[in-house]
């Protein structure tokens, strides 16, 4: 019983990190139809900024996260305007190659600035211990992950479903030309959404620095997981990636616990089956790839 709760809990915590990092990718890919392999770069930068602020300047955990999120949001906005926007409508291959180029540049810069070794995060004391929940002792850090993730999911849902900004995004995902025809400034919308998506990734990277270690090869190491969440969840939605991220988090944790000698084999098999069953994802709003 305790084992089951622990696996469930660790799986959900892992899924929350995957969700925070990937949801922005899902929305921006659905909006712009851009195959962006470099999304992990922003999560990595979020992690580095958080760790650096905490370890070198002694800034507390949550203010560091906020600063990382803000800094990367601005960077994402600038990169979208300066580089990404030039490649909308180009072939899939060009977009894949361009985003791979961005990954390599980011890996090189991370290595030059922070060195090849992992940057350990020094969690504040109140996140280090264990807390009893329903008679099971669980690490406080992961409880925070889950709580934080839940708040972000709620907030995203409010923005996406209940605000004019969210309605504009949904409109542009459903039909880009029509959205533009009724007066939505789609290029500004793209840039703002891209910035917010990368900011969320930075938040996920910083918050999850103890789960997904912050190393220069971060964008290459975890790219598969982020892309899987998006591909399985479906483009242009915030609900699909949530289900997919929880599913992947739980399945990965459970399989690695139950059959450690099989490693990640089952997860990749599951992804295979899911993608063949629903090539456009569990929930898809996008028409571009339909």
């Amino acid at each position: 019983m305790t084992t089951v709760v622990t696996i469930l809990f660790f799986g959900v915590a892992y899924g929350m990190i995957l969700y925070l990092i990937s949801v922005g990718l899902s929305v921006t890919m659905g909006l712009m139809g851009f195959i962006n392999l470099a999304h992990g770069v922003f999560a990595m930068l979020g992690g580095y900024v958080t760790v650096t602020l905490m370890n070198r300047l002694g800034v507390p955990f949550f203010p560091s996260l906020a600063a990382a999120c803000a800094a990367v949001t601005v960077l994402g906005f600038v990169l979208e305007r300066g580089l990404y926007a030039r490649l909308y409508g180009r072939s899939e291959l060009d977009q894949v190659l361009f985003s791979m180029g961005l990954i390599f540049v980011a890996v090189a810069i991370a290595r030059m600035v922070w060195g090849p070794l992992a940057q350990p995060i020094q969690l504040p004391d109140y996140l280090k211990g264990q807390t009893d929940v329903l008679g099971v002792s669980l690490p406080a850090y992961r409880i925070t992950l889950v709580a934080f993730g839940a708040v972000v999911v709620g907030g995203l849902w409010l923005v996406f479903d209940r605000t004019l900004f969210g309605a504009r995004i949904r409109a542009a995902v459903d039909n880009h030309d029509m959205a533009e025809a009724i007066g939505i400034d789609t290029s500004r919308l793209f840039a703002v959404t891209f910035g917010l998506g990368t900011g969320l990734a930075a938040l996920g990277g910083g918050l999850g620095a103890d789960v997904l270690a912050i190393v220069p090869s971060y964008p290459l190491l975890y790219i598969v997981y982020f892309l899987i969440v998006v591909a399985v969840g479906g483009l242009g939605s915030i609900k699909g990636p949530f289900i997919a991220a929880l599913f992947i988090g739980l399945a990965d944790t459970a399989c690695k616990y139950a059959v450690p000698e099989a490693g990640a084999i089952f997860v990749f098999l599951l992804v295979y089956i899911l993608l063949l069953w629903r090539p456009n994802g569990i929930i898809s709003r996008s028409r571009a790839d339909g």
Binding site: V96, F104, V105, A108, V230, A264, I265, P279, D289
Partner: protein, 332 residues
């Protein structure tokens, strides 16, 4: 335009036209001459030949059939492990093991291709990536067969054709891999100029129209995928035979990415792109990664971004644009 520059352009155009036949033969003559001119560089040259073969097999998919895959290393690694495992179990004839490796890679290509080619766009990319990751994880965990993360060590092969030993100097490996590459090049050239090759280009340009013409799009794409898989498996087998080692990295996403970059750097969809892109990539990697691997990553990234933003078509794309500009200046 200045008349003297026009006439000199005309002379240049005529000279280049006259030499287009020898130009095609030039890389092969250079490779053959290299055997006598650069003793000591055989192992590096062999690596380059193997990667060219690998990149050419990818060109059939990316450049002709329009299938963008991030999982071509799956088939390379499959061939490499097949050859290595066979050698460990007593089957050491290089050509026989290479043929087995091709068959194994073709089988994997048939299975994965028949599943993933039913999708397109992001799902196809992801399935190709998932195939590599799946095989990588299997090879990593099945250490009993594959040596796990340490790779497959201590493999050795018999002499080629029962006559020429694959020795440490690498003279045999040089000729053996160059011969394999040349045969594959002739085969692919014939294939892309056949009706089948033209139907692949048609599918790349407009698959709906090809379907309307009565062409079986799925089975043609699958056939191309299986052929490319077998050739990638051959490249993997050659790698295992000439280096006597199979690394777990031969099934990595990074190798899939690198071979794609080598191909694009030279120029895809022209078969000769791999002949240019692979050596340029490998020499640049050698020169730039010497002091610091970060250095190489940075340049690789910048070159990729530059290529996609400013020079689609790679090095040969730049050359052919320059050629057309020259023709316009030089007149007919």
């Amino acid at each position: 335009m200045n008349p003297s520059s026009a006439s000199s352009a005309r002379v240049l155009v005529a000279a280049l036209r006259a030499s287009s036949g020898p130009l095609q033969a030039a890389p092969w003559l250079a490779a053959a001459a290299g055997f006598f001119l650069f003793p000591g560089y055989e192992p590096l040259a062999t690596q380059i030949f193997v990667m060219i073969l690998f990149a050419m097999s990818l060109d059939l998919l990316v450049g002709y059939a329009g299938i963008v895959t991030l999982g071509h290393a799956a088939l390379f690694g499959c061939g490499a492990y097949t050859a290595g495992i066979l050698a460990l179990h007593g089957m050491t004839d290089p050509i026989a093991t290479a043929l087995c490796a091709m068959a194994a890679a073709a089988a994997v290509g048939l299975l994965s291709g028949s599943l993933m080619l039913k999708t397109k766009g992001l799902a196809l990319l992801m399935l190709s990536l998932a195939t590599t990751e799946l095989l990588h994880e299997i090879a990593n965990k099945a250490a009993f067969w594959t040596g796990g993360a340490d790779g497959l060590q201590g493999i050795s092969f018999g002499p080629v054709l029962g006559e020429f030993a694959l020795d440490f100097r690498g003279r045999t490996a040089y000729v053996y891999s160059l011969a394999a590459l040349f045969i594959v090049y002739l085969f692919l050239r014939a294939l892309i100029n056949s009706p089948f090759g033209w139907s692949l280009r048609g599918i790349r340009e407009n698959d709906a129209r090809m379907r309307a013409l009565g062409c079986s799009v799925f089975s043609r794409r699958l056939a191309a995928y299986v052929i490319a898989s077998a050739l990638a498996g051959l490249a993997g087998a050659l790698q295992a035979q000439t280096t006597q080692f199979v690394a777990l990295d031969s099934l990595s996403f990074e190798l899939s990415g690198n071979v794609l970059i080598m191909l694009i750097l030279g120029g895809s969809g022209r078969l000769t792109g791999a002949l240019i892109g692979v050596p340029v990539f490998m020499f640049a990697q050698d020169a730039l990664a010497k002091q610091d691997p970060a250095n190489w990553y940075l340049w690789q990234g910048l070159i990729l971004i530059g290529l996609t933003l400013f020079a689609p078509g790679g090095i040969l794309g730049i050359c052919s644009r320059a050629w057309r500009a020259l023709q316009r200046r030089g007149g007919p």
